[in-house]
């Protein structure tokens, strides 16, 4: 009665179309999960701040705790008070978008993070990229901003031949690329690990040979441990994305003094 074990593969991330198949607006399972989690985010925020009181209670208290965390620990620490207040809506939106969209990775029937394919992290990274470049260009003007971002002061002139391409690629090409890939690869790896553990438990328990049945508690415990780890990774990735956006904005504002 031994069946084949189907390991998780990349085709998990490209499920067949569920609605509107064949058109550019076709929805497969992952797009539906994204829509559901975005709707949950909007609903939670609307419900929390529907009639805000001065002394918050209940859901407003929880949402305010999250917002104060973003404001104090990310915006004010990295950008200072006035810049922090100015860019706080953007950074809070990025933080809560990444957090809520990632959260579906551990919800039982959804099980896939909305950031597991490159589309959503790409959008967030492009928003961050446009923002920090816009801030730098508005403050310094285009050529002065490019010069102060790329040219490192106080080095012998021969080093510039090596340093200028490296700095250019690292600042203007690698930053949005690593923002995107970091988020996407974390979510992809987490999903694959969780699917591997749980499908291994199913296989060991029901389809495996007799000696394999004893291994199923271990893979179940592994799945449980990795779900907890995935919770940490979800929060950490949201924190890191928002923190890096704030740091890039801060670096663009102080491009003069490296």
């Amino acid at each position: 009665m031994a069946g084949e074990f189907h390991a998780p593969s990349l085709s998990d991330f490209f499920p067949p179309a569920v609605l509107f198949g064949g058109t550019p607006f076709e929805l497969n399972r992952l797009m539906l999960v994204r829509i559901i989690m975005a709707a949950v985010l909007i609903a939670v925020m609307l419900l929390a701040f529907r009639s805000p009181k001065l002394v918050p209670r209940g859901l407003q208290n929880v949402a305010e705790y999250g917002l104060v965390f973003v404001r104090e620990q990310i915006c004010f620490e990295v950008l200072g008070k006035e810049s922090g207040k100015k860019y706080f809506p953007l950074i809070a939106s990025i933080f809560f978008a990444v957090l809520f969209l990632n959260f579906s990775s551990i919800v039982p029937f959804l099980n896939i993070s909305s950031n597991a394919r490159i589309g959503m992290p790409l959008v967030l990274a492009v928003v961050a990229y446009i923002t920090f470049n816009f801030v730098g260009i508005k403050k310094y003007g285009f050529w002065k901003y490019m010069r102060s971002s790329i040219v490192v002061p106080d080095v012998p002139w021969a080093m510039h031949i090596l340093l200028i391409p490296i700095e250019f690629i690292s600042t203007f090409i690698l930053r949005p690329f690593t923002l995107t890939v970091r988020l996407m690869a974390n979510m992809l790896a987490g999903h694959v690990m969780l699917v591997l553990f749980f499908s291994a438990t199913q296989f060991f328990l029901f389809d495996g040979a007799a000696w394999m049945k004893g291994l199923s508690p271990f893979s179940l415990a592994g799945g449980f441990a990795f779900t907890l780890f995935e919770m940490l990774v979800i929060f950490l990735q949201a924190y890191v994305f928002a923190l890096l956006t704030a740091v890039y904005i801060g670096l663009a504002q102080h491009a003069d003094s490296h």
Binding site: S9, L10, S11, F13, F14, Q73, E77, V78, T178, V181, R182, M184, A185, N186, L188, A189, L236, Y239, V240, L243, L244, V247
Partner: protein
């Protein structure tokens, strides 16, 4: 279908030896593993020397971890693509 999916399918059907992606990721994870260890170790040393700065040190530690771990994750994704 996206390009990476087509590439993954192609790689699976024409390779005689599979698993290069896993070997590639294993090699790619050596450097960032050591790197994250160094970053966190230095952060812990810094907190031990000046406990009143732990907020700043912790923030910078997370920044450093994000940068070095990105390289390991690019290695993971490159295994899937190529």
């Amino acid at each position: 279908m996206s390009l990476s999916y087509m590439a993954a399918e192609l790689a699976q059907t024409t390779d005689k030896v599979k698993g290069y992606g896993a070997v590639g990721y294993g090699l790619a994870a050596i450097g960032p593993g050591i790197g994250v260890g160094i970053v966190v170790g230095k952060a812990i040393e810094g907190i031990a020397r000046q406990p009143e700065l732990q907020g700043t040190i912790r923030t910078n530690m997370f920044l450093g971890i994000a940068f070095t771990e990105a390289l390991a994750l690019i290695g993971l994704v490159a295994g899937f693509i190529f």
